[in-house]
Amino acid sequence: MRLSLARRISQGFGLLLGIFGITGIGMTHIIFPGLHCYACPLAVTICPIGLMQNLVIYGIFSYFWLGAIVAYGLVAGRGFCGWFCPFGTLNDLLSFRKVRINKLASYSKYAILLGTILAAWAFADTMFCKICPAASIEASIPYLFLGVAHVNRPFLIHIATLSATLVGMVVIARFWCRYLCPMGALLGLFNRVSFLHLSLNTDRCSRCGLCADSCPMGLKPHEDYDNHNCIKCGECIQACSLDALTLRFSPNRKP
């Protein structure tokens, strides 16, 4: 099976899990391995960033949250961004301009992650959720139609952040995933130890740069295949005519 087809199917499963509440089963104990608002009327899984903020607010050290995040990180790291996260899928759909990543700016998502934690602690509120574009799509807009939300200042803030993010995605492929996503930052911490990883056979590589042109994250896999921003989507693997790049699932990360 072609890698891109496998990825689309996997992203489809991510989307399906995201709206599985349509079956009426309600909220489960599963922490979602991506950015997916638990306030969504159809959500059956828990947003790790939303939960993290609540844990900070209430001063609870959750071993359950920690175990789940480390598990996702160790299994695939940011692979979940490329293969599963519904908001990542939306980024994918709008990936028209695969421009080079600004490496320095890509660290801003770690600042956002720390800021999310600090803001939850300082204001005793889930401040990130109030501007989260995933929550705009999955909670604000659906609840407007369900009669729970109204067009008020918080709603307009949501629409503004969503609009800005959508424009960003159109102008820069995977804009949200590159620079802003706190969940991407959390998974990115494990990207260089995760079992799912990109591997480069340097004997085969001609350094043509086709892989770099295909990368939605704007990376250069032929120079740095083990980057903390890599979402392991496999676009570079398909672009490489010399089969120099492969996606592997192993704790042994030697090429």
């Binding site: 209430y58 359950f64 920690l66 175990g67 160790l74």
Partner: protein, 349 residues
């Protein structure tokens, strides 16, 4: 042949990631550790009034211990007990305060009497304040030691509040610090000695231990509980309100003229930021007329009733929700609550 990656050499950004990314991991772990230290934080503060109780030998005095809630959670079974001091009789009343609501106060009245032959001087009184609070299925018992002084003298009592000193165990820092150091060690071994095994062992231990211990502590249910409740202000569907509600003149007059009996139920959740405002608004309105009766119900305690009125749908709860029992109408959230509540009561503007 050397790999291209090594031919390029460690770029500025690679070095940056080494010196920024991995310290970030450690910072995050320390942050998590710090929050764990602050876990089970006291939600009550205690003040003693007067500041320096002064009692003459053979006399009695009364002072107050005021427990103030700084939290959205309810404190339950608050007990203050004193370590006996020879020659001083101390009797707090009541023995137990069953419930201190979020952001409210409760007072223990303490009778102190000194025996006639008690030498003049300053006496340190040690009290132990014990109470519990719950967040969903996780309940915490808080045990604080309070110390303050009583002077045995002929002088008059000085009146001003004092915060007793609270002692906390330094051991609270030990476990998270050790954990963070272990992980830091494993990361250093991986980055600078190329040893991956210790890091993988620690990560696998974190996964297995974290998930198992988390489930034993029922943290999975706690997480589900948090996610299953749509707190309207939390995700930015509306703004949280913490001020005391003030009714406008139209509302006051409309409530005075209310003719029919109305029964309201306010459904709340312990961690809902806007629920205390919704409760206070209903209380304020009910205080203006005898036609309104109301109840506050923790939505988890009457899920069937909540479900039958659409407050719980597919195991998801929306709070705050105010139900008018006679009509079955429900309003959610606190945005323009005064106007919407009047409309729920059948008052037209």
């Amino acid at each position: 042949m050397k790999s291209h990656a090594t031919l390029v050499g460690p770029s500025f950004f690679k070095r940056l990631s080494q010196w920024v990314l991995y310290p970030t991991v450690v910072l995050l772990l320390l942050a998590i550790g710090t929050f764990s230290v602050y876990a089970q934080e006291p939600i009550l503060t205690f003040l003693v009034e007067p500041e320096h109780p002064v009692i003459a030998p053979g006399e009695k005095a009364v002072f107050h211990i005021i427990a103030t809630s700084n939290s959205v959670h309810e404190a339950d079974d608050v007990i203050v007990t004193f370590t006996p001091v020879e020659g001083v009789s101390i009797e707090p009343s009541p023995e137990t305060i069953n419930r201190i609501s979020p952001f409210s106060k409760a007072t223990f009245v303490v009778d102190v009497s000194a025996s006639e032959n008690l030498p003049v001087g300053e006496y340190i009184l040690i009290a132990e304040a014990v109470y519990t609070y719950c967040i969903d299925v996780s309940c915490f018992q808080i045990d604080e030691e309070l110390t303050f002084s009583v002077t045995i003298s002929e002088e008059e009592t000085m009146v001003s509040p004092i915060s007793p000193q609270v002692k906390r165990s330094p051991l609270r820092w030990l476990a998270p610090t050790l954990g963070a150091l272990l992980i830091l060690g494993a990361i250093l071994l991986w980055r600078f000695a190329g040893l991956t095994l210790p890091l993988y062992l620690i990560l696998v231990l974190l996964i297995a231990g974290g998930l198992t211990y988390g489930v034993i502590l029922k943290q999975h249910e706690q997480a589900q509980g948090i996610a299953a409740v749509l707190c309207t202000s939390c995700v930015g569907i509306e703004e949280a309100r913490h001020e005391a509600p003030k009714l406008n003149l139209f509302t006051l007059s409309a409530l005075k003229n209310l003719a029919e009996d109305v029964e309201l139920i306010v459904f709340y959740a312990p961690w809902c930021h806007s629920c205390p405002y919704a409760e206070a608004m209903v209380e304020a309105m009910a205080a203006q007329t005898e036609h309104i009766t109301y109840r506050f119900i923790d939505v988890d305690e009457q899920r069937d009733l909540a479900a039958s009125h659409g407050i719980v749908r597919s195991n998801r709860t929306v709070v705050p929700a105010i139900l008018r029992l006679e009509t079955g109408e429900v309003i959610f959230g606190v945005g323009e609550l005064e106007e919407r509540l009047l409309s729920l009561l059948g008052v037209e503007k």
